[in-house]
Symmetry: C2
Subunit: 296 residues, 2 copies
């Protein structure tokens, strides 16, 4: 994002407020804004504790959702609001991809793990995807700057679930100057080596395997080395996608070992891949990001 | 429910398990079963803490949802699971009405507050509704007995939201021998005097105003007098349905005054009628039912 655009946002907001609901000691808001990166309108939710509503700068969590999701799933089902209210944390949930609307026609694919609603936080290089599918730039430049200019944010941590967990690990280690903390729930750990990711990266990057590697979380962690005091990852031990080999959690452990990146990796007995699992462990993740923000 | 039917359930379950997900230290289950009262298949969700899964009898909350809802809304959005896991409580969410399916044709109405998905916990007397719309018998006889025969339940409290809050107050005071505790969130307090309830009761009961009165929570409380050590009610002060006169909270206060029924009625500043409000106060309600169960 160029400075002129950032300045225009700060002085003349291009966000449209969609809804406000009081929740615990704070408010759940939704906004829509026009994105130059995706060339579409984009929606995000943001939970603002009363401190932030009063203008006091609070630490924030940027939460990246998984395949098939939009901002609603985590906002309705993960129950982050109570702990964020208690600790005074902001929680932001962006959409997972550009989407077609009356105003915008966006490419799509029949497979749920490619195209609209699929959650790869990368900039596609291959047509037709490269026109709109620039979610890395959207998240780390555009939305990041918009959030910092529009809300009382002191620092930003990044977390995500499933393919959004891959995005959180990838962007957290590719852009460590932007984030003070990283965590993930049931993450895909090496998208370029999973069936889902290989299908998507073939579309988005073609045969350029260097681009695949740059868009792979485990490769990136191993390459850049330690960036955070600790990384927290929870994984359901009864997760069917773990059994099917989509998640490859062992590759995250290997990458962190190589990077000498401290990793707290917890396998939770009996838990699956669902939001019932997410709500079970999310308080620990909010606490992790809050602690790291105090140290930042 | 006759004893022969209850016996057949106990010895040869007619429930079909739809799903199981681990959530905190317990499991969220869904079941379907054939209902003689509604002459349809009915679905409910039940959260079972590990103690109950191990066969230890636990107190239970029967939660009645509001207009337009089914068992999913509260199960996905209210976040009762954490507190129920902590306290060792069972939480049951039935559907709000009979519904048409491939096997069953059920009457309906274009208005969202009449017919399928509308949540009146009464037995209709007028055709065509009287064939299926027998939700009072479904809840207090059929489902009640099914739950007690199939799960490790020590006692049952009843709560609900909006028109389900009306149902909880109505059934709790009509059948005090069945329930050990009552609470409500944003309840309709006098259905026979609200626009929604008058439309529905005209369909379900016709002109017999004695039936309307028997199906009215405030009237019932005033008539039967004190039944519980205390009743807990939370109401959002910024609730649009309160402003529109659908809830008539003052009639609940007047009825409890007349009945000498202790009532804790809390108006929550800034809060609306949504699940964001429900999740904000539900822990206090679970705690209320847990305390009352200890006294029972």
């Amino acid at each position: 994002m160029n400075n002129a655009y950032a300045h225009s946002l700060a002085t003349n907001s291009q966000m449209t407020q969609i809804s406000v609901n009081r929740c615990f000691d704070g408010e759940q808001h939704y906004y829509r804004h026009e994105s130059p990166a995706t060339k579409t309108s984009m929606t995000f939710s943001i939970y603002l504790p009363d401190e932030a509503l009063a203008g006091q700068r609070c630490p924030a969590i940027l939460y990246l959702s998984g395949l098939t999701c939009n901002a609603d799933n985590v906002t309705h089902k993960a129950h982050f609001q109570q702990k964020c209210s208690e600790l005074g944390m902001i929680f932001i949930a962006p959409d997972t991809s550009p989407r077609s609307s009356d105003d915008d026609e966006v490419p799509d694919d029949e497979r749920y793990f490619v195209g609209q609603g699929a959650s790869y936080y990368v900039d596609a290089t291959k047509a037709p995807w490269s026109e709109n599918f620039n979610m890395q730039s959207y998240i780390v430049d555009e939305l990041y700057d918009l959030l910092r200019s529009e809300f009382a944010i002191s620092s930003i941590g990044i977390m995500g679930h499933s393919m959004g967990g891959h995005g959180a690990l990838l962007l957290g280690f590719k852009f460590p100057s932007k984030f003070v903390s990283v965590s993930a729930l049931s993450p895909v750990c090496a998208a370029s080596e999973s069936d889902w990711g290989q299908a998507a990266y073939t579309e988005y990057f073609g045969d350029d395997k260097e681009l695949w590697t740059q868009a792979d979380a485990a490769h990136t962690i191993a390459r850049v080395g330690q960036q955070y005091a600790g990384v927290l990852v929870d994984q359901g031990a009864a997760d069917n996608f773990l059994a099917e080999g989509q998640l490859q959690t062992e590759k995250l452990q290997q990458a962190c070992d190589k990077a000498e990146q401290p990793l707290t990796l917890r396998y939770q007995a009996g838990h699956d891949h669902s939001y019932y699992f997410i709500q079970t462990v999310i308080n620990d993740h909010i606490w992790h990001h809050w602690r790291m923000a105090q140290l930042a």
